[in-house]
Amino acid sequence: MSEIVQNIIIGVIGLLAIAFLIKKFIWTPKKKKPNSCGKDDCGCH
């Protein structure tokens, strides 16, 4: 397999890994905020 093809495949794998991490940690679908944190005014929202 030529080096260029290998580099492209590696680039794609790397981007997929980054995309997975972004999806996992940063980009999460917006949900309605649950205002139920217990009895006190927790300030978590």
């Binding site: 290998q6 590696i10 991490l21 996992k24 940690f25 905020k33 139920s36 944190c37 217990g38 009895k39």
Partner: protein, 699 residues
Amino acid sequence: MSKQINVALIGNPNTGKTSVFNALTGLNQKVGNYPGITVDKKEGICKLSRGVKAHILDLPGTYSLNASSLDENVVIELLLNKNDKDFPDVAVIVSDVENLKRNLLLFTQIKDLKVPAILVINMADRMSRKGISLNIKLLEEQLKTKIALVSTRKNEGITDLKNLIENYKTLSTEPCLDTSTIDSEYFSSLKHAFPNQDLYKLWVVISQDANFGKIDRNELDFSKFKTKSKSELKRLQQKETIKRYQFINSVLKEGQTIDVSKAKGFRAQFDRVLTHKVWGYVIFFVILLTIFQAIYDWATVPMDFIDSSFASLADWIKTAFPGGGKLTDLIAEGVVAGIGGVVIFIPQIAFLFLFISILEESGYMSRVVFLMDRVMRRFGLSGKSVVPLISGTACAIPAIMATRNIENWKERLITILVTPFTTCSARLPVYLIIIALVIPEGRFLGLSYQALTLMLLYLIGFGMAVFSAYILDKILKTNRKTFFVIEMPNYKVPLLKNVALTVIEKTKSFVFEAGKIILAISIVLWVLASYGPGNDFKNANTIVEQNFPELKGEQLDNKIAAFKLEHSFIGIVGKTIEPAIRPLGYDWKIGIGIVTSFAAREVFVGTLATIYSVGSALDDDDKTIKNRMAKEVHDNGDKVFTFASGISLLLFYAFAMQCMSTLAIVKRETNSWKWPMIQLFGMSFIAYIVALIAYQILK
């Protein structure tokens, strides 16, 4: 045509609700004695006769419909929201035969919501031992329901329960208590203001302390109705509870008889010792020491085996595909190393959860929580914080999730924030290699200096967690006092099946959740270490060959790899941060290790293994990572890993917040980036300062 019945499994903690769930569905699910062990909705399918299926939802344990924790809200929200897709056709309320009186409070509340309800009286096998007899027919009449007498331990009564679920339409929805008798004046005006609403549902919504995510109290138009103050509502809640207990007492007076003379058990004697103010702690710490010793003794062999297996696999891939180029390198050094970095922790995690599960199953964990509450409360923590802090020695992720059953938000938040200080298993490889490098061999009172250092690092981690909790308790303000109430479940011989299921579930969760993240990070790191900008990286071969003409073969390859690493993207990052970490005694290579460790600590050893496997000539002694690191020198010829820099590095790793997965979990649990960011920068700042002071004093 098949039909599905929605069933909600509800009950007080420790009634064996999850065992009933397992018996009905056959699904793998955790069963434990520790209060509130079920923190998420769990669901399963139970096949009934004639093609009918029951969709069973195992809800968190709750004592009443007056929510005080996140877990309890789940139950109330579901029961109040008819539009929820999981809204039950029938509620199965599980009670424990020994605590029927207390368990019936929740039952009567659910019954009054006019949801068809079945009462399961579980642990029926204990009746004869405890001298309990029940008049089921009479109880059914008085409680206006159907009762299933069940023993999940002996697998009895499950068929009866399935039949009752199938025939749920025949169940009465008549309430147990006339709600208006709580306060006739208040409830009549409430009925007048909201004529179309069910009175008890309305009362449950109004009287809750917490708001709901799905049901908004503000949607009710209160302009026509003047509600009461918080304290007045509380008083009415208490009145409701008293009325319910009066009803329950009258029912049980006729339906239940207890012959105390027939009751047998050693519970009181056990409790006296296990919760004793001196012996209780001694026994607990002896148990803890035994667990840790066993984890290290038993986990070492499989861990070494896994380590060497993955190293052999990586070697084999490189040998089998010699002309594979960079793609082969990615698989061998990125993917295989990444998977190996996950799998190696399986033995420790499995052993730790084996012990924790046995302690929970036996009923001992609740005694520990009670015992530790006395100590923890002084530092702003709860007795329930002990479980996360202990679990944190395996991994902070499940530990932080285990804080969900701490009712008080402040105590829960503090526990979440300080848990990452406890020494997790990912720190262990870092500690072991640095200790082996910088702590001399020798013994003190029969214990090796290296073992003592390791123990000291565990104590420092726990001490820092408690100390930080104390500080946070002073900083975070809340105007609410909390009271600690805990139920002491009966002692039981742990069921092997339940223990095994817990170990499998926890290990699977680590491998498939944390594992995917570590694998992705390993791939990204490998790419960043294998590519670089500019001509230095591109022409590395030519530059090294010109500058070191005397090098040949493996030595030349190593030098080229070292040069490339230095000029790779990750090398540039390491060089950039070098001025900031120099005062701590580290060079740029350690800097790379630290940067990558912010993804996950366990990446550190792998990163150093790559970095230090390159460079100077290798003879047979240099093949181990430890020896290569020991020979590493600064430009001026001084050793990189000295006692001072080693201690500095150990302390840095003891305090720094280096785990992206933990930060993500903290974000999820606190619903905000504020707290994980405070954790990241706060802990890392402490780590930097402590490491700096240690190095400057010791150098």
